[in-house]
């Protein structure tokens, strides 16, 4: 199946979960990454149970913050 990851279309096995995608994409510091699936944010607790479908659009967003 084809998944759009960060704007790039890639081929993956059927049934791939978000957690598996994070691993395959070697996302840096994944514990601080917010994931959007088709423009909806996915709770990190659901990464293991959320299977992706053909044509899904996934974005990885780093938490960005700081302080003085």
């Amino acid at each position: 199946m084809k998944i759009i990851v960060a704007g790039e279309t890639k081929e993956f096995k059927e049934g791939l979960t978000i957690a598996e995608l994070i691993e395959l994409e070697e996302v840096e510091t994944p514990q601080y990454v917010t994931v959007s699936l088709n423009d909806e944010f996915v709770e990190s607790g659901a990464f293991n149970n959320t299977a992706l479908s053909d044509g899904d659009n996934v974005e990885f967003l780093y938490f960005m913050g700081g302080g003085r």
Binding site: S36, F63, G65, G67, R68
Partner: protein, 136 residues
Amino acid sequence: MISLLKSDFDKIVAHAKNELPNEACGLIAGTANGDDKEIKKVYLLTNTDHSNEHFSLDPKEQLEAIKDMRANGLSPLGNWHSHPETPSRPSEEDKRLAYDSRASYLILSLMDEDNPVINSFHIEKLISQKEDLIIK
């Protein structure tokens, strides 16, 4: 080396002054060629902390900005935020929360409001390194 248009610098300063006494923040986008980055667009986002000591980017606005970058053929290059009362250098919290080692972190100091100072930093594993920033 990282370059920033004077007009974009002015946008950042104006937004940061408008948000005083709170910190202001946003994203930067452009093109990258090795270590050379050219900022072609700056995004003025909401500081969801609404604080003069902390900032967090709004994830929804972040996502919209990323989509706009793609639509305009730009790459995300990092972020910017203001320090209303402290110098243009990463705080310990800035370093601790810098999770993306590929990003450039621009910090605008408004300690002297009439003479804003901006610097760019590479931050990795809690160590910050000043980048050569050119405003043109």
